[in-house]
Amino acid sequence: MNLDLTDEQQAVRRLVREFAQQEVRPVAEELDRTKSFPYEIVRKLGELGLMGIPYPEDYGGGGADSLSYAIAIEELARVDSSVAITVAAHTSLGTWPIYAFGSDEQKAEWLPRLCSGEQLAAFGLTEPEAGSDAGNTRTRARSENGHWVINGAKQFITNAGTDISGCVTITARTGDDEISNILVPNGTPGYEVGEAYRKMGWNASDTRPLAFEDCRVPEANLVGRRGHGFRQFLQTLDGGRIGVSAMGVGLAQGALDEALEYARERSAFGQPISKFQAIQAKLADLSTEIEAARLLTYKAALEKDAGKSFSLSAAQAKLKTGRLAVRASEEAVQIHGGYGYIEEYPVCRFYRDAKILTIGEGTDEVQQMVIARALGA
């Protein structure tokens, strides 16, 4: 495995790092506190071509590889997870099924406005009765006079209810034993986006329940082949895991950055707390774990770029990075003492933002199932 980043990958890291420091960091606390969606940041990211990083330039995408994409998400999450998940859910969950399985017409219609960040795409898999058990989809779509008529509900959907949300691609039962993917544009009669949830973290990101009541879309809105919906969504989730793994790496690195800086400045017993072995051990362990998690995440991205199977690496990376993010943010709070429990310090937000990483896009237990299955257990 070649661990040297290309010139472009390094340039992407530098760009997103500078962007995150200069444009995101100053407003992250306020966006979180006021639970405000980062419209201005999304607009700027779109202008820079960062809302469609891994898609071809012909569709207005960045034409970069999955590793560049992972690096960009990592650098965003290092500063703020709400912004990072907004980009990640849009790119690898919302846009991907249209790019990978959509018809030429669907691609021509949707990809340019999604890659430019003018509109956001959402991915609607989870339902009240179908989370980890995503095959238990209850939402139904019946074919009627050249239309799909959709009835059902989705739960916890990211990016579906912003002012710039363009569409959601959902899983729906198109027969008793058949799940398909259907694209539903925002504003379609019968498609209702519910109130945003009150969440533990990711406060500046948009997460909502969706309801479909006799919602009619043209038959041409089927994404990919009829009956292939479940398989297509599993594939989408595989790629999505690279993005969320990068979020875990970034969040953990951001927590370590904050903890190290604080430890060097804070004194106790007449010396900086960074001089205490107990604190040093935490910092050293974290930096080591983060590097290991980063390499695993990059491996999954490199495999994807090389056209190899990456499901196993992506599941391992997701399992590793989610747990690490939780632990790293907890240790970072610990190193901050009481100040870590106060919202003025970013680690406080990091701590709240970390937990979802062991749940969303497949819980740890689901990753363990995927990994164990690959092992032949």
């Binding site: 010139d7 472009e8 340039a11 820079l48 990083i53 330039e57 970069a64």
Partner: protein, 263 residues
């Protein structure tokens, strides 16, 4: 018209700088970046072009540096330059300011620019002098620490940041102008520009290509001799006065100044 922008690859701002006791030069290992001041120079060139006040056909980034310095040129073209020139040659290693300015001037001469822009200072050497040296060789007027450029009929009207305030100076073209960071807010390179950087022409030149006299460059061609180095003395920690009661604070400050016979 043609604008040449001088750019330099420097150690990243986050890298702690140190002198290498053996070579008596700055240790330039570690992560590198385009000199931040030079991004302001490129942005200034872009703004002149985009304002339409002058008809800018071409913006050319020029660097002198080791093989790795092509990255600074990639960044320069991703920020808007149309093409770039990399002067690189073993014979140039160890050049001091005069030698560097001379070598850069030879490259520029071959380009016949109407305007040369550069950063007022590099993040590593911080000599603040390359602009003046280059201008001297090119026999062009030189303006330094410029923080505003307006195009007018006969040339440019520039505002310089001087120690005592601002100078407003009119200059005819061609000219060499070094810019301060207050001049503009550089744009970010877009992803598209990053991905396209390698597609823009990059010419590599050796000393022979541009008629550089090898005796005037490199360690041997440099007049500066480095003796011994000392770290600047550590600043004392200072006294922090908590402002609890402003009257008391003022008294404390007055007493502190009085003690040192400063008032």
């Amino acid at each position: 018209m043609k604008i040449c922008v001088l750019v330099k690859e420097v150690p990243d701002a986050a890298v702690e700088k140190r002198m290498d006791p053996n070579t008596k030069r700055l240790d330039r290992s570690g992560e590198k970046n385009l000199n931040p001041f030079d991004t302001h120079a490129i942005e200034a060139a872009m703004q002149i072009r985009e304002s339409g006040a002058l008809d800018v056909d071409e913006i050319v980034a020029v660097t002198m540096g080791p093989a790795s310095a092509f990255r600074a040129l990639h960044k320069a073209v991703s920020l808007g330059a149309d093409r770039s020139i990399h002067l690189t040659d073993e014979a140039l290693a160890g050049s001091d300011v005069c030698a560097t300015g001379y070598a850069l001037a030879r490259v520029l001469e071959a380009e016949s620019p109407d305007l040369v822009l550069l950063g007022q200072q590099s993040d590593d050497g911080e000599c603040y002098t390359i602009g003046a040296v280059v201008a001297d060789h090119l026999k062009m007027p030189s303006l330094t620490q410029v923080i505003k450029i307006d195009v007018q009929d006969a040339g440019l009207r520039c505002e310089r940041q001087a120690e005592y305030g601002y100078d407003t100076v009119d200059v005819e073209l061609p000219a060499v102008i070094s810019v301060g960071d207050a001049i503009n807010e550089p744009r970010y390179p877009s992803l598209k520009a990053i991905m396209g950087a390698k597609k823009k022409p990059l010419d590599t030149r050796s000393t022979g290509d541009v008629g550089i006299d090898a005796g005037q460059v490199g360690a041997d061609g440099s007049q500066v001799q480095c003796g011994s180095f000392k770290a600047p003395p550590q600043k004392s920690a200072g006294t922090i006065i908590e402002d609890e009661d402003t009257n008391e604070t003022v008294e404390k400050i007055m007493a502190w100044l009085d003690e040192r016979k400063l008032i």
